[in-house]
């Protein structure tokens, strides 16, 4: 697992990021990251996106400032993050301490035929996040580095950005509920209590 040149497997990465997750709130970008967090165990504290490409980082940010006492972990893909790369500037300026963004970077648009993304040509997302002002921004290639990101997401002084280089493998889908109303209602009920049902 710790061989630096062997690409990590995405579900190993996600399982480690979510290990002993306790009250961590998790947002997943559309596509494989959605199936990955669901494969690790569906939870009302997950908000898996099925669309709205480019939403993941900013949705996690809005959640993080609304819930400053809880850790918020955004897990998304390189294509999804590239679509909203300006969000890195917006978030870095606001400097939310409880937000971690982990990009599972397979250098591909995985859902549409494995076409190469910009990161395949060397675009350095972690460098862009660092240049925007993220206190911690890393390229991650080993499981021990994933564990460090996991610990930062749970306890760290963020914001944290991680570009996790992973194997471009296509895995079986594990689907969470698809209905946005169900996902929203169960998340709010879990985080805010039964009172949220009564508006």
């Amino acid at each position: 697992m710790n061989v630096p040149n062997a690409l990590l497997h995405r579900r190993d990465v996600v399982n480690e990021l979510l290990r002993d997750r306790n009250d961590l709130l998790v947002v997943a970008g559309l596509g494989a990251p959605n199936w990955d967090i669901s494969a690790a165990g569906d939870s009302p504290n997950n908000f898996p996106l099925w669309g709205a490409m480019g939403a993941a980082a900013m949705l996690g940010f809005g959640l993080a400032i609304a819930q400053p006492k809880r850790g918020v972990l955004v897990i998304t893909g390189d294509g999804e993050m590239l679509m909203s790369v300006g969000a890195l500037a917006t978030i870095a300026v606001q400097n939310p301490p409880n937000l971690t963004i982990a990009v599972l970077d397979n250098e591909r648009f995985g859902e549409t035929g494995m076409q190469k993304t910009h990161t395949a040509a060397g675009v350095d997302l972690a460098g862009m996040a660092a240049a925007a002002g993220f206190k911690t921004s890393r390229i991650v290639r080993t499981m021990s580095e994933v564990t460090e990101i996991r610990d930062l997401a749970h306890h760290g002084n963020g914001p944290v950005f991680a570009q996790v280089k992973i194997n471009p493998e296509a895995l079986y889908f594990v689907l969470p509920p698809a209905d946005g109303g169900i996902l929203t209602t169960r998340f709010r009920q879990s985080v805010l209590g039964d009172g949220s049902l009564y508006n």
């Binding site: 669309g51 480019g54 809005g62 709010r188």
Partner: protein, 190 residues
């Protein structure tokens, strides 16, 4: 000519300092708005200053308006209410992102200052200004419009109630006539 201009009021400018932004601020405070996402517009500047001075609210400058749609979805999931301040040109940037509040039955309140209509000087503002209402309605956003300064606050209040009580996106279009039209040709002469 220049001297004459100084004494003659420009009929395109509002005569008195507008106070409707202060009323809108009070309406949004009553609605418990905490997150204010914005790409600035001159028409929103007084409201933005009011929120910047408010320790209970957080003003977040966005690089593009659709960031605000996603941010306010996260706010709702975390139990906070917000508002998105934008110009009509920014509505076009939001279209696919509006899927999120629509399909998740989340409230979204958008205050849109209009360009590309009454008194517009810049032809490049016309396409999106004229398409703003249709674009929002195509994505299921409930659109109301304020054409007079004294109607802005009550229109915002109605839209806020609609958004936060029925859990859906609502937009208020603040007419260019309320804001006063710029004239770049006059500015260029100075």
């Amino acid at each position: 000519m220049a001297d004459l201009k100084k004494t003659e009021p420009n009929r395109n400018e509002p005569v008195a300092l507008p106070t409707w932004p202060d009323e809108v601020y009070r309406v949004l405070k009553e609605a418990d708005v905490r997150q204010v996402g914005m790409v600035p517009d001159a028409g929103h500047s007084r409201l933005i200053r009011a929120f910047e001075a408010d320790p209970q609210a957080r003003v977040i400058t966005l690089t593009t308006e659709e960031e605000g749609i996603a941010m306010l979805a996260g706010a709702w999931l975390g139990g906070e209410r917000g508002v998105l301040l934008l110009q009509s040109s920014g509505v076009g940037n939001c279209i696919n992102m509006l899927s999120l509040p629509m399909i998740c039955r989340m409230p979204l309140l958008m205050l849109v200052t209009m360009r590309g209509e009454w008194g517009e000087f810049n032809p490049w503002q016309i396409p999106m200004g004229q398409g703003t209402k249709a674009a929002l309605e195509a994505m299921g956003v409930i659109v109301t419009r304020a054409d007079e300064p004294h109607l802005v606050a009550s229109t915002v209040s109605g839209a806020a109630n609609l958004a936060f009580n029925t859990w859906r996106p609502a937009a208020v279009l603040i007419a260019q006539r309320v804001l006063g039209a710029k004239n770049f040709k006059e500015l260029a002469r100075k």
